[in-house]
Amino acid sequence: MSDDPITINNLTKYFDGRCVLDDISLRVPRGCIYGLLGRNGAGKTTIIRILLGTDSATRGGTSLLGSDSQKLPAKLRGRIGYVAEGHNLIQHYKVGRLIKLCKDLSLTWNEGFFKSLIETFRLPMDRKVNELSTGMRAQLNLSLAMAIDPQLLILDDPTLGLDTVARRQFLELAIDLLQKDERTILFSSHILSDVERIAERIGILAGGKLVVDCSLEELKNRIKKLRLIFADEPPDDLHLTEIINQRKTEHEMTVTAANFNQQKMAILETFKPQSITEIPMSLEDIFIECTRINRQPIMES
């Protein structure tokens, strides 16, 4: 077993004959905040569910904290904090009862930290969980996950339904938590600015494949989008390796390529464009380009 807190080896998952995850391999090193991105239905939640052992893989395997996900012992489960998409807590319980249950079932419980979170979020103890707003449920879920002093925190779209202030509070808390010891966070989200703010490494799922798996810095440095202006019609035979996306209009061609370097630039120059300009890309732009058509890995490191 690997020393990395999260290991995914050749993971494949079929749902009703449809391949949702296709041979995915991934390692998240200790102390890393890993942002897992993908469009709706890309398989982010499925990966997380398989990691936590609440669902099984069709092929391949996953491990958390060095133990097979399907056979995670209670003492390891107790070191993993989890915030679920939609915050599926026990809906018919009162907040106080749910907290007591989680406390009784936990191996470690940081009462001081938990109380400070509850006071910050002003969560009512006497109301049922299903009577809370989505934002409050998210806050409760996050507080419960944080209270066990997790060594590994798995957050499945945790900021969904939170307002801007609560989202900011949440992100700051996550950063706070990471600063303690060597904690690892797997963070899936639709809100790319959140991921950009806290993630160190990025994984992008598209068409069942992990098309990007590298550091955020590397991703931004190595994916380039170029605008080429031609005097006549753009050439049809412009081929580069690792092209993510390519579009052309009357005199213009935009090329998005991974691992862009001087060699690739030299190849582009052989087509004699009038000008080559780089279009700056945000993480959102990169995400859109990567999830548009690609099915093959674009960047791995």
Partner: protein, 214 residues
């Protein structure tokens, strides 16, 4: 484990109340039968009212047991309780063990008061002919095993089936199990049949629960 057992009991408190009410009705019939001056005894030495109450008791206990087993799993599935609990320091093995232990506690809660009431009444009321205790013991063992089979049947049916199929199949199979008592009586053979059925259903529930998506 104790926390999980307490949680299961609290969540299924309605089923516990229903079993207590059902047992209470049976007890009332039994006690009233004993208190009558013209108490009639069946040939085996058990007052006729006690004898008459058993069919009602076995049928209603078995149907309630199907509902208890099915209800536990159904609520768990629809409210995603196990999915949530399994993300805490809890394994699937503990989750299922807690459920089955609570199922057995429920069965004891339903059976014990009636057994206690009858034993007490047999002691305090003067008997004209001796009571056949061995028959009583056999009746209660068969009743308990039948209810246990029905409980595990309910749990199994809800694991991986839709609600309507589970209810219909549960009621039908439960009645088939009860009808075996009519055919076989209260002998060792029926005990063996219910024992094997319970064991098989428990093993199946265990295997399914260990690998289904929560």
């Amino acid at each position: 484990m104790w926390t999980l057992i307490k949680r299961e009991i609290k969540d299924n408190i309605i089923m516990f109340l229903m079993s207590v009410i059902m047992a209470g009705i049976c007890e009332a019939v039994v006690v009233s039968g004993f208190l009558r001056t013209d108490v009639k005894f069946a040939p085996v030495g058990i007052p006729l009212t006690v004898y008459m109450v058993f069919p009602f008791f076995i049928i209603s206990l078995s149907l309630l047991a199907v509902a208890m087993g099915g209800g536990q799993m159904y609520l768990d599935k629809t409210r995603k309780i196990s999915a949530f609990l399994s993300t805490l320091a809890v394994t699937r093995r503990k989750l299922l063990s807690a459920k089955i232990i609570v199922g057995i506690i429920w069965l004891v809660v339903a059976l014990l008061p009636l057994i206690a009431a009858e034993l007490l009444l047999f002691q305090v009321r003067p008997r004209l002919i001796p009571v056949d205790y061995s028959l009583l013991v056999r009746i209660y063992i068969v009743t308990a095993l039948c209810a246990l089979s029905c409980y595990l049947l309910g749990a199994n049916l809800v694991l991986g089936r839709n609600r309507i199929t589970a209810i219909l199949a549960g009621a039908l199979l439960c009645l088939i199990l009860i009808s075996l008592i009519v055919i076989k009586g209260f002998g060792a053979e029926i005990m063996l049949i219910f024992g094997v059925t319970s064991a098989a259903l428990a093993v199946r529930a265990w295997i399914v629960f260990m690998c289904i998506p929560l």
